[in-house]
Symmetry: C2
Subunit: 318 residues, 2 copies
């Protein structure tokens, strides 16, 4: 009998649930999940997912845990799909399930620089980094709706102390799971380009829809200043990314605006968090490029204002 | 029998009601008011005002009107305490009650540049310009609470075609009414200094409390970025005002922060409007310094962002 790949998914929100669904139906996987707010519901009833692409499914992970430590074992893959709020404490929290040099850590989160605390804590482990364009929402604990949007970029976060051949092998092993699970993905040589592109996207739509409580299209047509301001904001983030060594094109501002206008109008995950009074991913999405810009001497006046306002809005949630 | 001074007050919101109260109890005044949303209530029951400084009073104006035209007569003073939303149409709307060269127009509104459309429409009339530090709120139609804050700056908006002696005489005649009504005021040689100072104040507290839905003190302590950002914003407005020829001190940023911290924490009129889904004074408060800055070549990056966001929030109200 084939030994199953032992996977732990940490963070069972809407996006985490989507990837849990994909991995749970890949036959060579034994999937455990760490859930927080929806622990009771998922433990009892599993996850129900309705997807425009995949139909309606119900699945129960092999085990549902409250903490990684509870698992009492090491895993082949630890996949992090948690909200990027308290990014520095997670490497420590997953320590009980990470075997040095063996366990592969996979990040599926918004933001840039998310890999750094994991690299620091696990210098000898393979780290894979993903950018998700999956749209999903959790309507009630364990009940998730996946919208049509579905694509993932994945690549290696190279470790100076890690064998490059091992990194490649782990990337293949992991993407084989997604292949089996049936979700489209693209392997990227430099995943940081996609991470930064997603940050440019996230900075703009999250910040602007949250501070105005408008959806994307209404924001863009709210005055003749809104589109130019959106481009200025995106350009600031692009300039920071480029100064940080990531080759980003200036034309990205136009293509991201075209892209949003070609989609049905949307709010954003930050807007949803704000409406529900939940802590928002302000620091990872806006704070990182602000700090990086300051470090590299790139002025970010528009981003700075939005970041400061959102820190203040976030202070209402704490 | 002494002939009474014939005064029309246009705009019977919280601030308008306060000044109506002051003028209604000045014995030599016959006060008419133009009311809109609270017309029925005030017509029937008059205005009830509760004031920490003046006690509780009830008064009925000589007449309550829906429009200036309805008065069918000219006035000695037309006092504008309306919300500065549709500033360009008001000069025309008061035309039926303004006698050329005779009627004095008194502006009690937020913003800078408010006098210009009136000067253009009435080149031969005296214009007085006021800056109010009165705090008041209308709890229900015709029911107003005046907080302890009470002071008004008043000065002449000099007209090139108007006799300076007449301007002085009208200023005296009008402030005699306030004297009689019992509210403190200061006559200013250059009222534009106070108007700009109030705009610096209003830009900051209105914009920041509205976009964050925090009160002033919570905003200032929300992160270590909020106070510096507030000062940057204030400094931008100060620079524009100074370029426009109004002698403003840089130290104003510090004194306005000290002033707000010495007060009980407050929201702002714009925040109240936003919560109630009402159109906000975005254009007069933020738009004027933005346009003036652009015209004079003074960069206002922080103000620009807040203005654009608030235009978007305002678009929800229309």
């Amino acid at each position: 009998m084939e030994k199953k790949t032992n996977v732990l998914l940490y963070g069972l929100g809407a996006i985490g649930s989507f990837y849990a669904f994909i991995m749970a139906r890949a036959k060579p996987v034994r999937l455990s999940v760490v859930a927080r707010s929806n622990y009771d519901a998922v433990k009892k009833n599993g996850v129900k997912i309705t997807s425009m692409n995949h139909g309606t499914h119900h699945f129960a992970p092999f085990q549902v845990l409250k903490t990684p430590a509870e698992a009492g074992e090491k895993f082949d893959f630890v996949v992090l799909a948690n909200k990027a709020i308290d990014v520095t404490s997670v490497p420590e929290r997953i320590a009980p399930v990470v075997e040095e040099g063996k366990t592969t850590i996979v990040l599926i989160q918004n933001g840039v620089g998310n890999e750094d605390p994991f690299r620091k804590a696990y210098p000898n482990n393979v780290i894979l980094s993903c950018v998700t364009w999956v749209g999903a929402v959790q309507h009630s604990p364990g009940v998730v709706e996946h919208k049509a949007s579905e694509h993932t970029h994945i690549g290696i976060f190279p470790g100076p102390q890690v064998d490059a051949a091992l990194e490649k092998a782990k990337l293949k092993e992991f993407t084989d799971i997604w292949q089996e699970g049936g979700t489209p993905f693209t392997i990227q040589d430099n995943i940081q380009i996609q991470r930064w592109e997603k940050v440019v996207w996230n900075v703009a739509w999250n910040a602007l829809t949250t501070l105005t409580m408008l959806d994307t299209h209404s924001w863009l047509s709210s005055s003749d200043r809104s589109t130019p301001m959106t481009k200025t904001l995106m350009q600031e983030v692009i300039s920071v990314g480029r100064a940080a060594g990531v080759p980003l094109e200036d034309s990205l501002t136009d293509s991201l605006i075209e892209r949003i206008l070609a989609m049905p109008t949307i709010g954003s995950s930050m807007q949803v968090d704000c409406k529900r009074g939940r802590v928002m991913e302000v620091d990872i999405i806006l704070g990182t490029p602000v700090r990086k810009g300051k470090e590299l001497g790139i002025p970010t006046p528009t981003l700075d204002v939005l970041y400061t306002l959102l820190l203040a809005v976030n202070s209402r949630m704490q």
